[in-house]
């Protein structure tokens, strides 16, 4: 029985860590830098954008980004200080109603991580070329409020729970891309990027439904769900349940390799509406990855748990009734079966990329030293899209330094702001920035009450090639 509770304990901690310690973000982009003309980073947010100079990135450090975002939950929704200690929301001192009031009906945490292993960009005639090799990973986890209601309330006040759509998804892939942008007219510049994607691995574990009817006379719980992993070298370890069915107990990792192949494209355009106003739009990461059947693992969840009480061995003539300890152990095993993915088989799959749509408008004044921009960025996570609206003010007092302050209306909630700095003396280009500055963080540098954070930095060596105006 310890197993099941420890499993939940571990799962809970994992959930807390993901939900609070959380990670993730909206694609490898920092919106604050979208309007920074000296930044090489902004080429990733709109293929039509062109930095002032060509560049070659420092290997691995060319563009490193990590982001984490939720749809409203934060560390302090799940972690609480208590008498000098730190406890989780499961601590009996945490008020149930106030905890649940802080949650959404669907709670999702998204994480993106990525780095450019190699990248470079250069001007050739009027065109600007970019090439890059990147490693990208993303993960998201979502859980409905009903799950937390069940965990926090129990069945004393509510005997039926219909918990749907608990999902953990993660994927990682290598990306090789070639981009090109070119002015079409004096006012219009278009750009595009084509990517070849090499899948490293993907995992999708979904519990479609846990339906629990838990009254005082009987408990009946059913679970349904699916598991799909596509990762070469990932070897499942099987166990057999008491009904003789194989289920996945854990995974070993051995001899990694590529498990999928895909394509992606990005398109962008800028339009100089007036001397001071520029409009821009881009669609990023349109594409897919096809994961191969080899190295895949398919599991199915169809657990049932029925309990109508122990057989109480009262008196002396109860030799056939197992001991309470044995009955308790059996019930624990039955309960664990609810979360055992049974062996399915092998199957390939196709996943689409998490696309992003950026639409921006910029107003520049004081001979381009000062700029004000507004960017709408929509990231198409599964199953929902998340939109952020960012207002930024850009200032470039000297040629080698540019700074931008921003505010993101949807996730900042007056608790944080964005900042980006770009240093571009003649010999190096260093960029660092975040859309959600960490005003109050845990010792692990996670925002305590903010529901988004990201950090992006990059180091590159400028080339002598300049844009032809």
């Amino acid at each position: 029985m310890n197993t099941v509770y420890n499993m939940y304990k571990r799962g809970l901690c994992a959930l807390c860590l993901l939900a609070t310690v959380g990670m993730s973000l909206s694609a490898q982009q920092i919106r604050t830098s979208y309007f920074m003309r000296s930044s090489t980073a902004r080429t990733t947010m709109n293929p039509a954008y062109r930095p002032e100079r060509g560049y070659v990135s420092i290997p691995v450090l060319g563009a490193v980004g990590a982001s984490y975002g939720t749809n409203g939950i934060a560390v302090d929704n799940f972690i609480y200080p208590k008498n000098g200690e730190t406890v989780t929301f499961m601590d009996n001192s945490v008020n149930t109603e106030s905890f649940l009031n802080g949650l959404k009906d669907e709670n999702q945490v998204n994480v993106d991580l990525g780095t450019q292993v190699l990248s470079g960009g250069w001007y050739a005639g009027k065109g600007f070329w970019t090439v890059d090799v990147s490693v990208k990973g993303l993960a998201n986890i979502r859980a409905p409020k009903t799950l937390f209601e069940f965990m926090k309330k129990g069945n004393g006040s509510q005997s039926t729970y219909d918990i749907r759509n608990i999902q953990a998804y993660a994927e990682a892939y290598l990306e090789t891309g070639v981009g090109y942008s070119r002015p079409v007219t004096d006012k219009l510049t278009v750009g595009g990027k084509v990517k070849l994607l090499w899948g490293v691995g993907a995992m999708d574990a979904t519990i479609d439904q846990i339906y629990a009817e838990m009254g005082e006379t009987s408990w009946k719980v059913t679970s349904t769900g699916t598991l799909q992993t596509n990762m070469k070298g990932l070897v499942p370890e099987m166990e057999v349940d008491e009904q003789g069915r194989d289920y996945y107990n854990s995974f070993d990792f051995d001899s990694p390799g590529l498990s999928g192949f895909g394509l992606g494209v990005g398109l962008g355009a800028t339009y100089q509406l007036t001397e001071n106003i520029m409009l821009s739009a881009a669609v990023l990461d349109l594409g897919f990855i096809s994961w191969s059947k080899g190295g895949s693992t398919v599991g199915k969840l169809d657990g049932t748990f029925d309990f109508d009480g122990f057989d109480l061995a009262i008196g002396e003539n109860n030799g056939d009734i197992p001991s309470m300890g044995d009955q308790f152990d059996a019930i624990k095993e039955d309960f664990e079966n609810l979360l055992h993915f049974k062996k399915g088989g092998e199957s390939g799959s196709t996943t689409r990329l998490r696309s992003t749509i950026n639409i921006g408008g910029e107003y520049r004044l004081l001979e381009n030293k000062l700029g004000i921009g507004l960017l709408s960025s929509t990231r198409l996570y599964s199953p929902k899209a998340y939109t952020e609206l960012t207002l930024s003010g850009n200032y470039r007092p000297v040629k080698w330094f540019e700074a931008t302050l921003s505010y993101s209306f949807i996730h900042s909630k007056f608790k944080t702001y964005g900042i980006a700095l770009n240093f571009s003396p003649s010999w190096i280009n260093f960029f660092i920035g975040s859309d959600y500055m960490l005003t109050k963080v845990t010792p692990q540098c996670l925002p305590v009450s903010g529901n988004a954070m990201n950090l992006y930095m990059g180091v590159s060596v400028p080339l002598k090639s300049f844009a032809r105006e």
């Binding site: 029985m1 730190t86 406890v87 601590d91 122990f310 003539n317 001991s323 300890g325 960490l438 010792p443």
Partner: protein
Amino acid sequence: MKNKHLVILLLSFCCFAACVDSKYDLSDVNTDDAVMGESWVAPLGTGYVTSDDVVRVEKVPSIREVDGAYVVVYDGAMKIKGKSLRAASDKVVIASEEITTGDIDGLFDGDFVLALTDPHITLKSDVTKASLDCNLSIEAENAGKKESASSDFTLSAVSPAIWIGPLDPKTDAFKFIKNEQLPGIVQIVPQKIRLALSADSEQWMNAPMDALSELRYAVELPLAPAPEFSAVSVERIENAFDEDFVDYIFSDGSARIYGEVTNEMPFDMSVEMVILDENDVPVGIQLPAQDVKGPSGEVVFEITKEDMPKMKDARHIDLRLHLTGRDQGEALKKGQKTTFNLKLEKEGGISI
């Protein structure tokens, strides 16, 4: 100029400074007091005791099953004495028997009051050629206690079989002689019962030698409790509290064990729950006894937050059934059950 650059750099990176709140240190999260759900209700379990658990049938060899009902029966033949030439009085003892009824003491644990509705004695004789006015003297003894009773009747060819007891059996096989003292005799849980049959001296002297050659007796005690009946039956749930079970459920908060008791046995009962440690010593939680009158009733045992720490040693449960009779006085039958359908309500969550 270099200083200006340095100032810009320092000021810029100051923008990235953040306040670290050590109260949210994720590397040192205490989950010791983590609980699942603040309130739970669950079926705890179903169990039953049968009539042959409640009455220690195996300890009382004299118990028989008669038409499905338990009856303690002591039977045999009375020793018939020969005729003497002289009669010392108007009555002469013509037969007697001392019956050892010690096993009846094993019916229940501890002391009990065996108040039964219809204890009776039957006599079956082969009287054919005489008519004898008789008196049966009945003496019961248990340690220092003694009770006695007697009944007068006539043994004859017309009425060779006699039923002595408080209730008319309504059968032609016996002649009923009412005796309302018999239940009082049985009530002391006798170790011995002495029967002495006396007859009119003259009738006995004048009767033929073979007028009475056989006289069989049966002391029959149907286990049909009268209202004064009182006994305690202790039924144990061995290892009711598994160590894991206690850790998860009974480590904090409060708990309420409640449910329905369905009772087919002809007793009313007061159910006392005693929680014991592994050495069979009560852990010290006082749970008021719950009355179950009639065929069913509700019981509630509440373990308060203050008592909950005592549960860490809990292992067994003794259900002490304080049994009393009912006005109806129905017979205890084989296979009758008292069923406990218990539920658990837990406040304060389940420890994980």
